[in-house]
């Protein structure tokens, strides 16, 4: 090593380094009451949806719903959608608190990391005051935790795992979508009615958090009805071919197959199961049956013929006859030419619920919004009377049990509603074992 340290050189370097370190402290940070307080005549919302990856279809539909919601909030749309039927009348189509609603979009890629990066850029660069969207529970939990740290509100999109409002719940996060427990509680009685109480069930479960909680919810609900669980097999996420998992099902003494898969996985596994003749099979003197806990129209379309007669649960369906659903389907159909999916519905409703809570609170301050949403009871948004429970920020509402339609009239008319399970039947205490282990904590306003 050459020794060219001179006294002068060291002093110079030190002085420069010192100035560099001291530099940032010269400027004072702006004094805001809370993160991204909107000061102009606009307010920015962040729509963080999967635009690429396995749930891109759902992400696209979510984005359509958000654009529609922004039009309705600003009063620039062809009609006012659910603003007409919403039980709370504080939204007037003049933006939120008189500020015009603007939005930024981001791509979650259905990866926790990418979703957080995208949400952070919305908060730090674009000044988003609220983040919403997403189509998987992993992303929802990750972004919810980020929003809690940053001090903005998170309105979850499509997320079905118990953890989002269970062990990973956060004070700044809210979920309108139903969850695994509710699916189990709603499905079990219908299944018992249709298939009897002495079934042997075999589970193929997607090997990640949503799969685990849904499997647990369905198995405990059906076991309470008298079913027995033969086996639970984890399958890798995104496996194109499930035939190697189907063969052992035929060799076991199971007479019911529960496919805890979502999206493309469910389409593939169901197609495999049908190809292996499971639907024509006889076991224990009974017809073999297949159950899919979480259905969506987009999945039903992918599975085509195979979906006919199969039971599942869903958060919302466009064929619901109530005024709120009809108003939403009409606005969405007029703008885009086809009916909305359940993902679109929950996102649209979340945007409206946030805007309404801000209006009622009279402020964008996250803690005030949290207080306005906690324990909020509303109606007219498509699911009947609904409660945002204060204890875990989960919406409690009726759950739909659906079945693949035997004679679909169009490419969108694939599911028929078998039963609307009343909210009392799917309500659980906040400390239910499937939801235990988390704490809401305190709301965070950020800085």
């Amino acid at each position: 090593m050459t020794t060219n340290f001179t006294r002068r050189g060291v002093l110079k370097t030190g002085a420069i380094a010192g100035a560099g370190v001291a530099l940032p402290t010269i400027f004072t940070s702006r004094a805001n009451a809370y993160t991204n307080e909107p000061t102009g005549d606009t307010v920015t919302l962040g729509f963080n949806v999967p635009q690429t990856g396995p749930y891109a279809d759902e992400g696209a539909d979510e984005l359509r719903a958000y654009e529609l919601a922004v039009e309705h909030l600003n009063g620039t749309g062809a009609d006012n959608g659910m603003l007409e039927t919403f039980s709370s009348k504080s939204l007037t189509g003049q933006g939120i608190l008189g500020k015009r609603v603007e939005y930024v979009t981001g791509d979650t890629q259905t990866k926790s990391d990418a979703a957080r990066a995208s949400a952070r850029s919305m908060i730090e660069k674009d000044g988003a005051i609220m983040i919403t969207g997403g189509s998987s529970s992993g992303v929802a939990v990750a972004v919810q935790a980020l929003c809690q740290e940053a001090g903005v509100i998170f309105m979850a999109g499509l997320t079905h795992a118990n953890d989002t409002t269970g062990k990973d719940k956060r004070a700044n996060g809210f979920r309108h979508f139903f969850n695994s427990y509710m699916s189990g509680a709603a499905l079990a009685p219908v299944l018992a009615n249709a298939y009897g109480t002495d079934r042997n069930a075999y589970y193929l479960t997607a090997d990640y958090n949503w799969g685990y909680t849904t499997e647990e919810a369905i198995s405990s609900a059906t076991e309470a009805m008298g079913w027995t669980t033969v086996n639970k097999v984890k399958t890798p996420l995104g496996a194109g071919d499930f035939s190697s998992y189907i063969t052992p099902v035929l060799q076991s003494d199971a007479d019911t197959l529960v496919l805890v898969h979502y999206g493309g996985d469910m389409v593939n596994s169901l197609t495999n199961a049908v190809q292996f003749g499971l639907r024509e099979a006889q076991k224990n003197g009974k017809d073999f049956q297949i159950v899919v806990p979480l259905f969506s129209r987009l999945m039903a379309r992918g599975a085509g013929e195979n979906i006919k007669g199969i039971f599942g649960s869903t958060n919302w369906h466009w064929s619901l006859p109530d005024a709120g659903s009809q108003a939403f389907v009409r606005s969405f159909g007029t703008k885009y030419g086809f009916p909305p999916s359940q993902a679109a519905h929950t996102c649209y409703v979340q945007a409206l619920l946030y805007a309404d809570a801000v209006e009622r609170a009279g402020s964008f301050e996250p803690c005030a919004v949290v207080a306005a949403l906690e324990g909020f009871e509303f109606d007219g948004l498509g699911n009947g009377p609904t409660l945002y429970r204060a204890a875990d920020h989960q919406c409690f509402k009726d759950v739909l049990v659906v079945k693949g339609k035997e004679n679909p009239q169009s490419e969108f008319d694939l599911l028929e509603i078998v039963e609307i399970t009343p909210v009392e039947q799917v309500t659980y205490p906040p400390d239910h074992p499937q939801f235990a282990g988390g704490e809401l904590g305190a709301c965070n306003n950020g800085a």
Binding site: T52, A56, D113, A117, L237, G441
Partner: protein, 406 residues
């Protein structure tokens, strides 16, 4: 200075200046202009530039010097992140212990994987590392869910048993990572004219570390050890015949670059305390290969440039949606506006991969030496130094070799 030649010292000083001035340089457009969309001077992205710069610098020590193409480096990034988050959960929210553990654990993993994988070279080595990384990803995603948090990722909770520190702040929130009290999220804003600059504590922490490891890699490049690594790349068989065993050198390079990756992973967790399994996936490993090749493999500055480019596209181009496009081209007549937007649409927003892919192809075809070569060609064109005419040199003097540091 610091054991570097004069030329290297000035190069290092330039790098230091660029790194420290990043918050200013990345914010060239006023806030209310239409071009503000292209500003990248917000903390998250700047931190990412520095972190992936470190990742790519480390990868380059292996790939650029020895020519061993590892397709599984993201595994070490992930391991670093998980160890850092566990340190936050169990010991303290101070980032220093977390980083130390991240480097050590990823170094151990690199030693293990490197020991096995380096028994083969070329494509077999790449496949082995890829297999190990995918295996670790699959484990983290499902089987090891109690340790890694699975799909959701490993995150802090309100009841972590933090030995040195508190489980929750008095307000009932999860404490944030800090450096002896200086919170990584802290930043100060400076508004001048229409511009708004953000100086973020976390970014400067990453930047200082990035400069240190850049200096270290510079020393490695210039050392006899670095010369050995280059020999491995040039002709390993010949090296064997001269009686030198290349294995310890390649293994050392593999472990060093694995530790760099672990450091980057630890920093990622320090900036944003969550470790997701996706950062270990093979696409993430492929990304660092792209960064290095795009910038220029084997050069000091190339991988950092490549990392910056890819992260810029991922974060800035992916956020341009049709709404933004319509706002830009609103001055055009309606029909024409729609046509222009329709043409640009596939290349922005969710199509950012497409733009990046085209750019990558162009670089590989026209600038095989990466962006660094492009820069060199530009400077040469401007300096107008007469190219030595081969006909005037009948004795075939060796031509000027570009400085490795450029």
């Amino acid at each position: 200075m610091l054991g570097l030649s004069r030329k290297d010292t000035s190069f290092l000083l330039i790098v230091i200046f660029l790194t420290l001035a990043t918050p200013l340089l990345l914010q060239p457009f006023p806030e209310d202009s239409a071009l503000a969309q292209f500003n990248a001077g917000y903390p998250d992205l700047m931190q990412r530039f520095a972190i992936f710069g470190i990742f790519a610098i480390g990868f380059n020590i292996l790939f650029g010097l020895t020519g061993y193409l590892s397709f599984g480096h993201a595994a070490f990034l992930g391991v670093g992140s998980y160890s850092a988050v566990w340190m936050f959960k169990l010991l303290t929210m101070n980032v220093i212990p977390a980083l130390i553990l991240a480097v050590i654990v990823s170094g151990l993993f690199a030693l293990l994987i490197g020991y096995v994988s380096l028994r083969r070279s070329g494509i077999y080595f790449s496949i082995l590392t890829l297999a190990f990384a995918q295996m670790m990803f699959a484990l983290a995603y499902s089987v090891l869910t109690p340790i890694t948090g699975g799909e959701t990722g490993l995150q802090l909770s309100l009841n972590d048993p933090r030995i040195l520190g508190v489980s929750q702040t008095p307000e009932g929130n999860i404490p944030v990572p800090h450096l002896f009290g200086l919170e990584m999220r802290d930043s100060v804003q400076w508004a001048v004219g229409g511009w708004e600059f953000t100086f973020n504590a976390g970014y400067y922490f990453c930047a200082v570390i990035a400069i240190l490891v850049f200096y270290l890699s510079m020393r490695i490049f210039r050392s006899p050890f670095g010369m050995m690594l280059r020999a491995v790349k040039t002709n390993q068989t010949r090296m064997n015949y001269t009686g030198l065993n290349p294995r310890p050198y390649t293994l050392a390079a593999f472990v060093i670059s694995g530790m760099y990756a672990g450091l980057a992973g630890g920093l990622m967790a320090a900036m944003d305390p969550l470790a997701g399994a996706e950062r270990m996936q093979w696409t993430a490993s492929g990304e660092v290969v792209l960064m290095t090749i795009l910038g220029g493999a084997g050069t000091l500055m190339g991988p950092v440039l490549g990392a910056g480019f890819i992260k810029y596209f991922e974060n800035i181009f992916s956020k341009i949606n049709d709404n933004v496009l319509h706002a830009w081209f609103a001055f055009l007549p309606d029909g024409l506006e729609d046509v222009v937007v329709a043409i640009i649409h596939p290349f922005v927003g969710k199509g950012w991969h497409l733009t990046l892919g085209i750019l990558f192809m162009l670089v590989v075809i026209f600038l095989p030496g990466g962006l660094v070569e492009g820069y060199r060609r530009l400077t040469r064109a401007f300096r107008r130094t007469p190219r030595p005419d081969p006909r005037r040199d009948p004795e075939h003097h060796p031509g000027p070799v570009p400085h490795v540091g450029e």
